[in-house]
Amino acid sequence: MPIEAADIRKEYRAPAPPHAPWRRGRPVRALDGVSLRLGAGEITGLAGPNGAGKSTLLRVLGGRLVPDSGRIFLNGRGTGDAELRKAAVCAEAGARSFYPRLSVIENLCFFGALYGLPRSGTRARAETLRDRLGMRKADLELRFDSLSEGSAQKAALIRALMLPSALLLLDEPARHLDLGSAAALAGLIKEKALGEGASVLYASHDPAGLAAICGRVLALKEGRISAEVPAGGEPGAIAGIAGACAGTL
């Protein structure tokens, strides 16, 4: 499902300083008029230095954060944050979005149920994804708080990839993964886009990873899309994406 964002703006107020909790925090402009279009079945990269607004943009597109202004269209139709939450799935970094005292599989079944997936379907899908991502079989039955960082990240990826979504938002998905698992993840993301027609937005600081998987990469700098870099095997793509990651474009 194609998604389009027009002139998205978001300003945060930083928390009050600890030594003066009565003061209002400084305003911080996270997004300053971002417009983009993600086609169905397309994998788009998002690169930029720390603080450029990548995570904020992912949260806005996922319906988790309400922008101050701007509009988002799904399939050409203006949409609100509730519709975005139905359409989008966000893969976030492992540990703090899972129930620590539940096993991995119980966590996955719980979140699957929130999206209407039956337990049997979740188990089967999780097993396939576990195998593809190189996660040990026994890890699915372990309590979440006993997992290594890499396994926790794989659990987060299994959750994101098993859920039905028209829009897949990935924030540093290859973090903590070994090379083999990262390659498997790239394959799974391509299948999600090409096989299921999902629009994918892939935020990362890894130019080679972005170049290998994305058709193009958007450079985000100080809350604005400052450039669009071709990827997907284009000559010199990695150098261009490295510039986007460093904020020099």
Partner: protein
């Protein structure tokens, strides 16, 4: 909707049973608390009778029923903010509320386990009351009791949802929970009849749903008062429910919207 509620119930059951000792100690403390009131009744019971005459119950019977009832409906008042805070601290609140689950279904599911467990505790109370402490519940009017429980549960769950709005917005420091915890028991007639209070405090008692709920409960349980006789109390509880339920749902939606606007849903 049932799939989501079942998923929450299963998840909460698994989390609770992973803390084995807490479950056992919680049940034991309920019974030891009751034993304290039993012996207070044996020591001073007759002294309290003038205030309790209208209820057809001694002090132990009175406080036993009110405590069991308060424990049950207090689940509604207290568990929303507690569960929400748990989810907030674990970091799962943002992930759960980012799913397509609607706010009303989320609210129903969030405390489903607490209500189920409170029902179990209530059953333990009743069994212990009858077989350990020798309570006579044979005159209880069941339809009236059901009406009291239902209307009170809606009112208290609504108060709980209102209270959880503070958790959503301010994380810690919850004036609604503070008021509920400190004044419902004191002013609502849970540990003694409201008639014991000075008249100016009784005026405040009249503004609390617990006062009507406890009064109706005692009459239905020990005197067998029916729905007709308890109509004033039941209508008052219905009025509380009709006002508080939509108010709390609207307040929660507004608080959630504000948290999503501020980006503070994942903060704790």
């Amino acid at each position: 909707m049932t799939t989501v509620i079942k998923a929450f119930l299963r998840k909460d059951l698994l989390v609770e049973t992973s803390y084995r000792l807490s479950f056992v100690l919680g049940s034991l403390s309920t019974l030891t608390g009751m034993a304290v009131f039993y012996f207070i009744d044996r020591l001073f019971g007759r002294t309290f009778n003038p205030y309790l005459g209208g209820y057809g119950a001694g002090y132990f019977e009175y406080v036993f029923a009110a405590s069991a009832f308060f424990g049950y409906i207090g689940t509604g008042a207290g568990s929303y903010s507690a569960r929400l805070r748990d989810e907030q601290v674990q970091g799962t609140l943002d992930a759960t509320l980012s799913s397509p689950v609607s706010t009303p279904v989320f609210l129903l599911s969030l405390t489903a386990w607490n209500f189920l467990f409170a029902t179990f505790e209530l059953a333990v109370y009743v069994v212990a009351g009858v077989f350990v402490f020798g309570l006579d519940l044979s005159r209880a009017d069941l339809p009236a009791l059901a009406a009291v429980f239902l209307l009170s549960a809606v009112s208290f769950a609504s108060l709980g949802i209102l209270s959880s709005c503070f958790v959503l917005l301010f994380k810690r420091g919850n004036p609604a929970a503070w008021l509920l915890n400190n004044f419902e028991g004191l002013l609502g007639g849970v540990y003694f009849p409201v008639a014991v209070l000075p008249s100016w405090l009784q005026w405040f008692s009249g503004a609390l749903p617990i006062t009507y709920a406890v009064r109706a409960l005692q009459h239905a349980l020990y005197r067998g008062a029916g729905v007709g006789e308890l109509m004033p109390e039941l209508l008052t509880l219905l009025a509380f429910a009709l006002v508080l339920a939509p108010l709390s749902a609207a307040a929660f939606s507004a608080a959630l919207r504000k948290a999503r606007k501020d980006g503070s849903l994942g903060q704790y």
